[in-house]
């Protein structure tokens, strides 16, 4: 069962398996484990961006196609569904129409983009996508009657997916982290700490929407895993490694690459739809910005390119850092201000400096984990098992060879 769900593509590292299970449980039970709106919002974003980053990795990691237009397709989905809800009223038909129309637009644009520009050098494709993505952003900013311009637009979700739709009885959650913190800081008040750790979970439409996106991401992620482990996926790996060889074996690489770009774009569009419905407010800055495109790239690289599990790890690590590094830095600088010598350096650690420190973390992670977190964990696991095998087996592959004829 697990084998077929994961298409035989196991994490291949014990630590990675533990991390992935932790993330899965954290997201599946998240609303009942972490209290507060920031936590809920972060989880929603993680779910959406796992899909978006995994789709990006299909292009970047599996096929070595660099696209800057991934967020444009994300924007197609977000604005498509928002505009449909705006003009057709807050109902599910509007969501279906918005999603369908933006998917269609994505597929057509991605197809043209792929067929026209993937024939030539990779750098050309990257530049074309950059130009197109930029024009789309300008367009969204200019067409303010339709899109709200820079102010963005409210996404009028159907009542069933909003906060107004709720069960009478709130559900109960248990804040595990809060409880652990309580136990550590106040070990004597165990009963009180335990009582405080329970919190009400508002069983409303937003919770429903969260779980809808969770299931969609899970299903699509497993679908992608199936795809990359299929014969199609192997052709992608072959193209990545040696395009000419793949052609000489009879594979039309342009079609394969175009198919990947179309697929990744369609998945990004679905991610955009989910983003709009989960956050219920979209702006060009939150959906199309160049900074966001770089963030997606970073999530992909930090997690590990060429492995879909990397998208899960990358998106989770990045978004947690993005949402909590600020708080952490705020606490740190607040504390430093009270210490005589360190007070001078305190502004460096201000919460608005989070990007600086994130940059430092990123540089360090690329330096120490050049193949991303997943790549590194797998390498360690492989090295350990190789060391074990060599003890058992003695010698390995090498045969007398390579001495010139």
């Amino acid at each position: 069962m697990i084998h077929s769900l994961l298409s035989g593509d196991y994490p291949r590292s014990r630590l990675l398996t533990v991390l992935l299970i932790a993330i899965f449980i954290g997201l599946a039970l998240g609303p009942f484990l972490f209290s507060g709106t920031v936590a809920f919002r972060t989880m929603g974003l993680i779910v959406v961006f796992i899909l978006v980053v995994a789709a990006y990795d299909l292009m970047l990691g599996y096929t070595h196609v660099v696209s800057f237009a991934h967020l444009m397709f994300f924007g197609f989905g977000a604005y498509g569904v928002a505009m449909a809800l705006d003009s057709m009223g807050s109902n599910f038909t509007a969501i279906a129409v918005g999603t369908g129309a933006s998917l269609l637009a994505s597929i057509v644009v991605a197809l043209l983009l792929g067929l026209l520009s993937l024939r030539v050098k990779a750098i050309f494709f990257a530049l074309v996508t950059l130009a197109i993505a930029f024009s789309f952003m300008v367009l969204v900013n200019q067409l303010y009657t339709l899109t709200g311009g820079e102010d963005g637009m409210r996404v009028a979700v159907p009542r069933e997916l909003g906060p107004a739709f709720r069960l009478d009885e709130p559900l109960t959650g248990f804040s595990l982290l809060g409880w652990l913190w309580g136990v550590v800081t106040n070990p004597l008040g165990l009963v009180e700490v335990t009582r405080e750790a329970f919190f009400d979970v508002r069983a409303n439409g937003r919770l429903l929407m969260y779980y809808v996106s969770f299931v969609i991401t899970l299903v699509l992620f497993l679908g992608m895993l199936r795809l990359v482990n299929s014969p199609f996926g192997r052709v992608l790996l072959a193209i990545r490694e040696n395009e000419f060889r793949a052609e000489a074996l009879g594979y039309r690489t342009v079609y394969y690459r175009t198919a990947v770009v179309v697929l990744a774009s369609a998945l990004a569009t679905i991610g955009g739809v989910m983003f709009a419905l989960v956050t219920r407010y979209i702006t060009p800055e939150s959906t199309l910005d160049f900074e966001l495109a770089v963030f997606v790239l970073l999530m992909c690289v930090i997690g590990g390119m060429g492995t879909l599990y990397g998208a899960v790890i990358g998106a989770t690590v990045f978004l947690i850092a993005q949402n909590y590094l600020q708080d952490l830095l705020g606490v740190l600088s607040g504390w430093m201000e009270h210490v005589p010598v360190l007070a001078m350096a305190a502004p460096l650690f201000g919460s608005d400096r989070w990007l600086l420190w994130f940059g430092v973390l990123f540089v360090l992670s690329v330096y120490f984990f050049p193949t991303g977190i997943v790549g590194q964990l797998r390498e360690w696991a492989a090295r350990r098992s190789r060391a074990g095998e060599e003890l058992v087996e003695g010698e390995k592959v090498d045969e007398p060879a390579s001495h010139g004829a």
């Binding site: 192997r234 052709v235 060889r245 000489a248 074996l249 090498d398 045969e399 007398p400 060879a401 004829a405």
Partner: protein, 241 residues
Amino acid sequence: MAEPLMKLSGVHADIGQYHILHGVDLELPKGELTVLLGRNGAGKSTTLRTIMGLTDVPRGRVEFKGEDITEWATPRIARSGIAFVPEDMGIFQLLSVRENLELAAASGPIDKQRLEWVFGLFPALKKFWQTDAGNLSGGQKQMLAIARAIIEPRDLLLVDEPTKGLAPSIINDLRDAFRELKDQEATILLVEQNFNFARALGQTVAVMDDGRVVHAGSMAALAEDEALQQELLGLSLGAHQ
């Protein structure tokens, strides 16, 4: 002589700004192994690459099974029944032996019987079936590269210097494999610097120099005529004996 399976007439080829082939005329008889000899830089590898559609052909005509394939794209040429084993072998290092062969069997799952036959030719591949190809030795990589070309029946095999850098015992294995392919009446064009290897296998021979075919005929005739060898191949022959 049998009817030619492939015919090159007056083929010129450019790689970038360099003009490499200056009018190659070559016929490959069906069911025979033709050896392409010549010194380094004579245009042997470029001839193979040109057949595969990997160079610009400003003039000339490449015919395969009576069809003009000069302008065809590489994947189409491959699908029409030509397998190419390049000099660098071009195996996918990050994929396993199994995945390499599965990719080569472009028309569907690998035929079991055919796979057993390939394993018979190259037993090492069976042993390292699940190993990443990048971990194989040089000889095993070459075997994989050839296995990849023959995992499905093809009309024509183009093989570029399979013995380059290999130990004598592995060269013998390769020679046996080519003999068996020959017995099955495969049409093969083999680029080779190792004259002994070439002489042991070739039925017909073409010698290239400076981007042209300067001699074509039977291998037996060339093997007997030392003066001709001296004239065509010069000292390069001695260096490889």
